[in-house]
Symmetry: C2
Subunit: 299 residues, 2 copies
């Protein structure tokens, strides 16, 4: 991997998802304008776009053009965006800063933020129902909708956030921490890859399983790096409040296993993710770049 190829791939994905999101979010001129402003504020022009980038890279690996999975990329990013809005609310993590800007309920108000989150979630399902470019046929699309609903719901992302809240201020072990992350962030990251695989119903089960394993390892590695960065990176680079986990007495990998061991665990998971891509030629390079990026990312 060269830094240049990674950079240009990430840039292309960022551009593509921005245009696609811009197109499938309701205009600010459509009433209720304030709600649509809040939805757009929370989703456009920001974020690392990890999930869409994974969707695009998976498309490339299985022989689809990235544009063909725009609907999936938008859907997972909207679900991610809604979850950030709700997680930041005073009753939840009570965060004022997100991506270097005021959180949605700070920029607007709490009621608008709750509704913007709700509406983003339904918009994700709507886009997935309507996007015309998605290959695979109606059965594949139904499977994608099922994946998205499962990954976002009480036994996926929302369940993970609940577990996270319940664990606050309590001593939990590594298994419980991993269980939180598998649900809170892992489920949607896995869905970003799995939904793209649905668009190729002829994909061999072995390949589909390997990509799923890649996503599983990557999701956990991403979370461990997140915990490490919360300790290491200053607020300006992070775009959210630095040291927040520590201040809230949240269980993190570095806290439970030590900083060095956490670094090693992340590196091991990234290697496992890379291993599962062995059968692929250069088509899986974008997936390999993402793994490398997550191993090294500093924000």
């Amino acid at each position: 991997m060269t830094d240049h190829s990674l950079r240009s791939f990430l840039d292309a994905c960022a551009q593509r998802i921005e245009t696609a999101l811009e197109r499938c979010l309701p205009s600010e001129r459509v009433p209720p304008a304030r709600l649509h402003q809040a939805m757009r504020y929370a989703v456009l022009d920001g974020g690392k776009r990890v999930r869409p980038t994974l969707a695009y890279a998976t498309a490339t690996a299985i022989g689809l053009a990235p544009e063909q999975v725009n609907g999936i990329a938008c859907a997972v990013e909207m679900i991610h965006g809604y979850s950030l809005i709700h997680d930041d609310l005073p009753a939840m993590d009570n965060d004022d800063l997100r991506r270097g800007r005021p959180t949605c309920h700070k920029a607007f108000d709490e009621a608008t933020a709750i509704l913007a989150g709700d509406a983003l979630m339904t918009q994700a399902f709507l886009v997935l129902c309507r996007d015309e470019g998605l290959p695979g046929g109606p059965q594949a699309r139904l499977a994608m909708l099922d994946d998205l609903a499962w990954a976002s719901g009480s036994r996926g992302m929302a369940g993970g956030q609940m577990m996270d809240l319940e664990a606050e201020g309590r001593e939990i072990d590594l298994t419980s921490l991993e269980n939180i992350h598998i649900h809170k962030t892992g489920a949607l990251i896995r869905a970003s890859v799995r939904m793209v695989c649905r668009a190729r119903p002829d994909l061999s089960p072995d390949r589909a399983e390997r990509l799923d394993h890649y996503a599983k390892c990557l999701g956990l590695a991403f979370q461990i790096r997140d915990d490490i960065l919360d300790i290491e990176a200053p607020t300006a680079i992070l775009g959210k409040t630095h040291g927040k986990d520590l201040a809230q007495d949240k269980a993190t990998y570095p806290a439970l296993m030590g900083l060095e061991a956490a670094r090693q665990a992340a590196a091991d998971l990234v290697n496992e993710a890379l291993d599962s891509l062995t059968p692929w030629d250069g088509k899986a390079d974008p997936l390999r770049w993402i793994a490398g990026y997550i191993a090294q990312r500093n924000h």
Copy 2:
């Protein structure tokens, strides 16, 4: 219509939806238990079940067995349940009482209530993806998912709640009030009928349009009755705080047009709903009973 046939129809629907919801909500024994408890608390054992009852009655009218549309009935009731949880939050309508019991955030806490609402929404989509009894094929199911997403989102229910919040304490005219209700409650009520029509792709466009018009009139009539009841019925019968609209200086039909004119408007809409059922024989009687029930309901 006899009171007896209406009563036994409503009872049968109430029983059927309770069993169906019980089956498609995650068990309280599945972690995160508290989240699943909150979801079940908010949805089971309560409510008028207007939307499921409409779905079942529509099924009967178009020659389907009510059980065949259990998935639709559950989905719309879960979306309704989620919207009540979020609408009751302190940042929104700040209500302590719902269906004669503490609201979800009072019985649990705000964070749990927000997540329970979120998870109910995704569960609605999941049920609609997975329910095995739904007729019509994958294309019909995709159309139902599209209906549900559209009706719940920023140009449907969530948008209506936003408009309602924005109108609070401001003078609005009858057109604006109607616009709020068309979105806030009307969209999901219409979807409850429309989604069932999707299950019969061979239904004539004229019949489908007539049922849609029925639902549109009924939804508005229901809301006007709701406004009237907020003034007339004591809290004990209503199951929610009496006189709330008045206390919050909310625009209502009786406030804008007078109590008698509001009563007349509701009656006219119910008659218009009944008129659109003219081509049907006795199969549409349950739909006729519901219209009569809404015209006369006292809670």
